[in-house]
Amino acid sequence: MVEFLFRENNIEQYLDDPDAKLMLKFKEEEDPSAFEELMRKNFSRIMNFIYRFVADRELAEDLTQEVFIKIYNSASNYYPRSKFKTWAFTIARNISLNELRKNKGQVVSLDKPFKHGEDDMSLQVEDKTVSKPDDEIIKEELVDAVGKAINELPANQRTAILLIRYEGFSYEEIARTMNTTVSAVKSLLSRARETLKEKLADIVSG
């Protein structure tokens, strides 16, 4: 509780965040190039987060568009109350969770390998006519095993793992993104890591 109250103080610090500055520039000057700069810096990153969340490249790109449309529509009321990245990832997380709820059981099938569009790994694996080097096959198996293990995590644990492992967020930043406490984040990460360790034990040690 104290942690939540403390967070709202000292909001001036976020005015130095370069992305927050771009957002304010877009808000005050209605300069589309500022918003485009913001997109160039963050689109790919957010798209990858969503892609790892929903395991579908095309859907990830569509949902990332939604994230930026939400950001665009919020510009007129924008004031930096947190780092831009934690705010943007909060929106990305909410949109991904809504999508999962909307298509429960359809978006993320636990047996479904990660979909990359034309580079879909499953297509390559199933093509028996093409012989492949052993290490490439091993890598593909590892990609599928890791993707599946992450997809099987509960949504909260998955969010925390993705943010720390792939986005390099601190515990504090994850807590802000997920609107929870640092100790809750540590607990989520600990449970997620235990699960991943168990599920990947064979493939990692082998």
Binding site: E61, T64, Q65, F68, R193
Partner: protein
Amino acid sequence: MDCKRLKSQIYEYLDNELQEADMQQFSEHLGACAECQKAYEAIKRTWDALEVLPNVEPTPNYMSRFWAEVATRQNVVDRARARLSQMFLTWKLVPVYVSLCLAISVFAIRNYMQFEQSRQILAEMSQEEIEMVEYIELAENYELIDEIEFFEDFEIIQNLDDLSVTQS
């Protein structure tokens, strides 16, 4: 630092969340303890394995797609706004709006006059009359209350248990 403490801090070490002093103690112990190195390597292998997930890039036209989508949605909002304007901001509806305004004005004036009248009556009333008005509901039921011997009945009901004990 002992082995138990090091093992509890492996994840925080990998996440770069240890304080500087703890980080140094951790590294020193890890360099000197084979058992801890083994535990650390096992966890790190799983952690490193997560790196294999591929990165994806947005389609090259993602920016133009975005602005096109913004324009489409803006058009939808503009069209809805224009339709609403057409519906409500038209000269045909002026008599309706004028009638509504008149009706609201008449209602407001009537309420104000009633309020003023009540205030005047209240100002002319004595304290006794005001009390009577306050307890007007009791006055309405006065005859009924007078007819029933309520308090006597109430006492009987209250002492019913005692009476039955005495009888037995």
